[in-house]
Amino acid sequence: MTAAPAGRRLTDLWTCWWVFPPFYTLFGIIFVPLTRVMPPPSPAKITAQVVGFFHAHALTIQIGFGILMVAIGFGSVVNGLVAYQIRRMTAGSVFCYAYLATLAVGAIPGCLFCAFSFLAATFRPDRDPHLIALCYDMGLLTFVGSLGCFATQYLIFAIAIFCDRNKVFPAWLAYVSVWQVVTELVAAPVFIFKGGPFAWNGAISFWEGTALFGVYIACLIMASRKAVERQQRGEVTAG
C-alpha cells in the first residue's frame, strides 16, 4: 500500500464514497416505509394479526425486498471502502480481513434472512397461518437480534483506529464505534421478551440502538470523506 501522490484524482475511491449516502438512503426507504421492518411491528401480535400484517403490506414487502436483492451488493462497496482505509492503517491487515468477514457473515442474519422470511410469508398468503407467524418471528428475531457479528465488527474497527499511527480516521470515531458495541449487547434480551423496552420493538433494544446507528453511519460517511480528501492532498502516509 503506498500513499496517493498529491493531486491524484482518486476517482475509484470517490466513486465508492458516493455509493455510501444513496445506499443508506435506499436502505432506509426499503426497511421503513416499504417493508415495515423498521420500526418493527410488535412481537406480541397474535397469529391472526401477523397474517393481517402480511396481507396489508404484501405488495410493498415484495417491492422493497425485491429492490434490496438488486441493491444489496452496493453494501459491499461501502464496506470495501472502509476496509481499504483500515488496510492503510498501521494496525495491520488482519483487522481489515476480520472487519470484512464479520460484515459478510453478519449480513446474512442481519439483513438477508429477514428479507427472505418476509418474502416467503408473502409468497403464499394461503399458507398455514402458524407458518406465516413463524416467518414473522424468524425475520424480526434475526433482524434485531443478530448482534454478535456486528458487535465484533464495531470492536475491530475501534481497536484498528486506536492502534493506527497514520490517523486515517479520527480517534473519536473509535469511541463512537464502541457505543455501538454497547447498543448491540442490550439487544440480546429480544429473544426473551414480547413487550417492554427489551422486546424487538423496545425503546432500548430497538429505538436507542437505531438512533445511535444513525449517528454512527453519519460519522462514518463524514470521516470516510475526510480520509479520501486527506489522501488526495497526499497528507497521509501509508503503513
Partner: protein, 200 residues
C-alpha cells in the same frame, strides 16, 4: 458530532500541554459523555416503568442484597482512588508506585466482578430471574451492561500498566484517558446503586 479530528488528536508525546487542556484526550470525553447519555436514556426509561409499577418495583427491590451493593460501591470507589493516585504517581515520575496502585485498582475491579457474580447466583437460585418481572428485567440488563464496562475497564487498566513499562516513556494523556474511563465506570455504578438498590 462536533469534535473536529484535529482537536481530538492527543498531543504528540503528551508533553506540550497547555494550562487549558482537558485531561486525557478529547476523544475519550466524547465517548464518556456519549456513554453517559446512553445510560441516561436507560435511566429515564427505567423511571417511566417504575412510575407505572411502583409496588412491584419496591417489592422486588427488597430481594436485592443491600450489603452486596454497598460493598461493590466501596470497591469501585477505592479502585477509582487507586487509579487516580496512580496517575498522580506517574506524573511525579514514580512509575513503580504507579504500577503498584494500578494492581490494587484492578484487584478491586476483579473483586467487584466476584461480588456481582455471587449476587446473581443467589438471585437466580432463589428463582428471581430476568423473566420474573420488569424490575428484574432492568436489574439484569443494566448490571449486565455495566459489568461489560467493568470487564473493558480491566483491559484498560492493563493498557495503563503496559504504558507504564513503555520503553519510550509513558504518555500522560493516555494514562489520563484510561483513568477517566475507569472513573466513568465507577460513576455509572453509583447511579445504578442508587436507582436499583436505594430508591424508595
Amino acid at each position: 458530532m462536533t469534535a473536529r479530528p484535529a482537536a481530538c488528536s492527543p498531543p504528540a508525546g503528551g508533553s506540550a500541554r497547555t494550562a487549558m487542556a482537558l485531561p486525557g484526550d478529547a476523544g475519550m470525553w466524547v465517548f464518556v459523555l456519549g456513554d453517559m447519555a446512553i445510560f441516561g436514556v436507560y435511566f429515564i426509561i427505567f423511571m417511566v416503568y417504575r412510575g407505572h409499577e411502583q409496588g412491584v418495583f419496591l417489592a422486588s427491590q427488597r430481594h436485592l442484597s443491600l450489603a452486596s451493593g454497598a460493598v461493590n460501591t466501596l470497591l469501585l470507589l477505592a479502585s477509582s482512588r487507586f487509579v487516580a493516585l496512580s496517575v498522580a504517581a506517574a506524573a511525579a515520575g514514580n512509575d513503580r508506585r504507579a504500577r503498584r496502585l494500578i494492581h490494587w485498582g484492578a484487584l478491586c475491579g476483579a473483586a467487584f466482578l466476584l461480588v456481582k457474580a455471587h449476587e446473581w447466583y443467589s438471585l437466580v437460585g432463589a428463582g428471581l430471574t430476568v423473566q420474573r418481572n420488569n424490575f428484574f428485567m432492568f436489574y439484569y440488563a443494566f448490571t449486565g451492561v455495566h459489568l461489560f464496562h467493568v470487564l473493558a475497564g480491566l483491559l484498560v487498566l492493563g493498557v495503563m500498566r503496559a504504558e507504564l513499562r513503555r520503553p519510550g516513556g509513558r504518555r500522560a494523556w493516555l494514562l489520563e484517558a484510561a483513568a477517566i474511563y475507569w472513573h466513568m465506570v465507577d460513576l455509572l455504578w453509583i447511579i445504578l446503586f442508587a436507582l436499583l438498590y436505594l430508591m424508595r
